[in-house]
């Protein structure tokens, strides 16, 4: 009954220098569903999500073992170009990171580096992306203003719009709400739920209620190991592992 997996990891190990951050992870994220990654801080959830678009390549001394497949193709394979990969796999970071440019230029950034010059196409994409991120009505009269003038929650939705503009297939969220207030958080959660109609979403969160609210599947990591993976509903009502139950009921974390 599950749709086919969009992203699959097979025996994924990750090292920072000699320190192993991920141990033999086997996780499959179904297509057009929201998969949440939860776990106590330092469990490797951010590291995990950053391996999916190879953002960890940048970190000196890092090393990956095992396989990550997207649509069945190895993202470290020889035919895979990291730039192409990142265009297909968008990412929203923990802290809103708008560029010090206008709102318009922020959203158009990904298209422009991709070689799109057509004014009409840029205009059209900027509007569509901002609408999709539920930000259009708030900013449509001030697209030329600097993005730093927006509130934290607006900035994060701008970052979502910016990622959507390059039309990715997968959206990765690395604790997207940890730096913003509850009302803005609710807006972003709404967005994520609507997004699964078109995208495969993976979200890292330390907020279990958030995972329960937005996700279809949940993976629980601890110290780099996968403790439990399954449907969110099942996991939050009848976890199969003692550790998961302890974590979910707030006995540690």
């Amino acid at each position: 009954m599950d749709p086919r997996p969009k992203i699959e990891t097979r025996n994924l190990d990750f090292f920072y220098g000699s320190k192993q951050a991920l141990i033999k992870l086997n996780i499959a994220c179904p297509e057009k569903r929201v998969t949440a990654i939860i776990g106590p801080s330092g469990c490797g959830k951010s590291t995990f999500i950053r391996t999916l678009n190879r953002m960890n390549d940048v970190v000196a001394g890092s090393r990956v073992q095992g396989k990550i497949l997207i649509d069945g193709r190895d993202i470290h394979g020889s035919g895979m170009d990291v730039v192409d990969l990142r265009r297909r796999v968008g990412m929203v970071f923990q802290k809103p990171n708008p560029f010090p440019k206008s709102i318009y230029d922020n959203v158009a950034y990904g298209l422009r580096v991709n070689g799109v010059r057509s004014r009409d196409r840029l205009d059209e994409t900027v509007e569509r992306s901002l609408r999709a991120a539920a930000l259009w009505d708030e900013v449509k009269d001030r697209l030329r203003e600097n993005a730093f003038a927006l509130s934290g929650g607006q900035q994060q939705r701008l970052c979502i719009a910016r990622a959507l503009a390059v039309e990715p297939e997968v959206m990765l969220f690395d604790e997207p709400c940890s730096a913003i207030d509850p009302i803005a958080t609710a807006k972003i959660e709404n967005l994520i739920q609507r997004m699964k109609n078109d995208y495969t979403v993976v979200i890292v969160t330390h907020n279990m209620q958030q995972a329960a609210r937005v996700s279809d599947h949940t993976a629980f990591l601890m110290l780099g190991e996968l403790i439990e993976f399954g449907e969110t509903k099942t996991m939050f009502t009848a976890p199969s592992q003692k550790l998961t139950e302890d974590y979910i009921t707030g006995r540690f974390g």
Partner: protein
């Protein structure tokens, strides 16, 4: 696929471009040391290293027997530098403490760029002032015929090293965590006690680095000492004596020396000693400063 290939090639070309410049700079800058060493070494075919460093007399043009000893020059450099530091350290740290602890932030914002102006004055202008202002003044108070002596050089070098000492000391005083001073103030220490007993000790490594950098600048300064210290080739015994530092000696003789003679090589050997001295001083400052900044992080 070919589009990707093209993009990867372009990326690699750009990286190669910057890499080439990085390597070029590094090689050239390391080449300075290598070439200096290479040109200084032939001097020691005719001069013994021990003699070179411990002989007071420098008389390369003697018709009987040329003598190459740089002890007087080293001592002159150290004397003038020490004098400069004795003047510049208390004043520089005092100004830094005033700016970080006493002055209103508006005063600080105005004074800091003004101090930077001092750093921007070319050394030849400072040397000129040594001749026209400080020299006559020193001559008057000492009763000598002219005031071109070690003290003149020290006064000028003090002025030149002040901006470095002030700005780095001020940075390190300002970087002392607020909680330190708050703890002291909470124990009914006055602001003065807090400054002297808590903040200055906490910022000490930064202040030491500042002093070392100021010292490096003083040791290597050429035009100022060349113009203001009189350049007599004697062993220095007092601040009111005319002295010739290592830098002045190179500046005076390099213009007249025939290329590729022992004298020529010997001047490069003096330069090498100077290079090593300043490099060590700067290295110490750098290590102290980096360690200190890492701790701040």
């Amino acid at each position: 696929m070919t589009k990707n290939r093209l993009r990867q090639l372009k990326e690699r070309a750009v990286k190669g471009f910057f890499f080439t410049h990085g390597i070029l700079s590094t090689l050239v800058l390391l080449g300075i040391f290598a070439l200096l060493l290479y040109t200084a070494v032939p001097a020691f075919r005719d001069i013994r290293v021990g003699e070179f460093l411990t002989t007071k007399l420098w008389d390369p043009t003697s018709p009987l027997k040329p003598v190459y000893g740089i002890l007087s020059q080293i001592m002159s450099t150290l004397l003038v530098t020490a004098g400069a530091l004795v003047i510049a350290i208390p004043i520089g740290v005092g100004v830094a403490a005033y700016l970080s602890d006493v002055a209103h932030w508006r005063v600080r914002e105005i004074v800091k760029p003004i101090v930077e102006i001092l750093a921007g004055i070319p050394s030849v202008v400072v040397g000129f002032l040594g001749i026209v202002l400080v020299g006559p003044f020193l001559a008057k108070i000492s009763g000598q015929s002219h005031g071109l002596n070690a003290l003149n050089g020290s006064l000028l070098l003090a002025i030149m090293s002040l901006p470095t000492i002030i700005s780095i000391s001020e940075d390190s005083l300002s970087a002392v965590p607020q909680v330190y001073s708050e703890a002291s103030l909470a124990l009914a220490g006055s602001r003065w006690q807090t400054l002297v007993r808590v903040k200055i000790p906490a910022a000490l490594s930064g202040i030491i680095a500042a002093v070392m950098l100021g010292m490096g600048r003083a040791i290597g300064e050429t035009m100022t000492v060349l113009m203001a210290t009189g350049n007599a080739r004697s062993f220095p015994t007092s601040f009111f004596q005319s002295v010739r530092t290592m830098t002045s000696n190179i500046a005076i003789e390099l213009g007249e020396v025939p290329y590729y003679t022992t004298h020529y090589y010997a001047l490069f050997a003096v330069g090498l000693v100077l290079f090593i001295m300043t490099f060590i001083v700067n290295l110490i400052a750098d290590v102290v400063l980096r360690k200190y900044q890492e701790r701040e992080l």
